[in-house]
Symmetry: C2
Subunit: 244 residues, 2 copies
């Protein structure tokens, strides 16, 4: 039993927002093939919605999220986590700082999304981006995607407000059923602009556009929650094999 | 910020099974009225599917789940949790041991379900029980309900196997969409036997019988995941007011 206590955990840093992280946990479990509970990945979710607002921190000299993030990761590492997943895209603007301060490896959600594009057979072409205004404006995705040979298509500022910010806020207010229409309208505009795939690059957006409605969209969507879940499962299997 | 680090967390002991605990996290968030992420409850989910099988421990001298449970609760308390919720009914057969060893209060899921019966205006009458064979056989619910003046209706052994164990296993195998039919058939039998309400007294069963299909059943169901989420929210609000 002592050996098992020391088996690796996955640490999930959530709260940004909390529903996205809880849904990430569901999806991590849903994509893990098992015959018994015991085959699921041991995971800790640190779901702390008090982590200071990323937009306010970046633009308005708001409280720094870093001490909260470091505190959470330190506790998860202490408890046995061997790798960290963060189901929030925007906070990946702080990724270098987070990874440098973390005692254990941190997965990068953008890398996970690129791996998922490949998993879906999309190795080049025009990719539509949806996400928070902050991630789109600062180009969290664009640099990575262009380095891999993709062309990025982005909505204009008003469209981001209407088709990204609005559904994201609706999900955060527990009004996800109202969030599909504006989010789907955003996907549709990107499709009409020539996107071969659309990245739901904010973890509230896959909740706005649930799996069972994606066939209505007429273009493949890359779900940053599911992409990170796949990356987490793959990385965990590697950590597990290291610890044998 | 130091003050905020010390604000109470909710600790959620999951893994029995892991999907039920992840769905509990979603439901806790969904029932919390908020205008901003920051108003959600800080919560840690310790989702450890390696906690030894409760049925094997009880009947077949299998590995003892208690050291794993104590280990998890101790880590959550150390991280700042002030109250523990356990979204698994069967493990409440060990409740006295768990509560005695825990440094922080542990909510009881059966009490949460009784509170939810009251919340739904069902103060007496005949209540149908669904759950694992172990909880039904050992009467986890029956004593509490009868002490409150309810009459319990239970399926026979073969029916439990077909209409409880089978959908529970399907949920654990990530085949929830196949679990509605057998679970709903069980609810229907209990309704025909005169139940005024049916308790989904295993946390896989509310996943088998999703909210949007409950109106098909013709009898109110009491969802042990949602009941525990309501109890957790209420208890957290009290802890929060203590810590002011």
């Amino acid at each position: 039993m002592d050996k098992n206590f020391k088996d690796p955990f996955v640490g999930v840093l959530g709260g940004m927002g909390p529903m996205a992280a809880a849904v990430f946990m569901c999806r991590l479990i849903a994509i893990t093939p098992v015959e018994h509970d015991e085959q699921h990945i041991p995971a800790i979710l640190w779901n702390d919605p008090r982590i200071p607002d990323r937009r306010l921190a970046y633009f308005h000299n708001g409280a720094d999220p870093m001490p909260w993030i470091n505190h959470a990761i330190a506790h998860m590492a202490h408890a046995g986590a061997k790798v960290i997943a963060i189901p929030c895209n925007t906070v990946h603007l702080w990724f270098e700082k987070i990874a440098a301060a973390s005692p254990i490896p941190v997965l990068h959600i953008v890398q996970a999304v690129i791996d998922d594009l490949h998993r879906q057979g999309i190795h080049s072409g025009r990719v539509g981006l949806m996400g928070t205004a902050l991630t789109l404006q600062l180009g969290l995705y664009q640099g990575f995607l262009e380095a891999k040979g993709y062309t990025c298509i982005v909505l204009n500022e008003d469209q981001v407000e209407e088709y990204c910010t609005k559904p994201i806020q609706l999900v955060k207010l527990n009004r996800s059923n109202e969030a599909f229409e504006p989010a789907a309208a955003g996907v549709n505009i990107l499709r009409e602009l020539g996107a071969d795939a659309v990245i739901l690059g904010c973890t509230e957006l896959p909740i706005a556009v649930p799996h069972y409605r994606r066939s209505e969209l007429g273009v493949p969507v890359i779900d940053s929650i599911d992409a990170l879940a796949h990356a987490t499962l793959e990385r965990y299997r590697k950590e597990e094999s290291f610890s044998d």
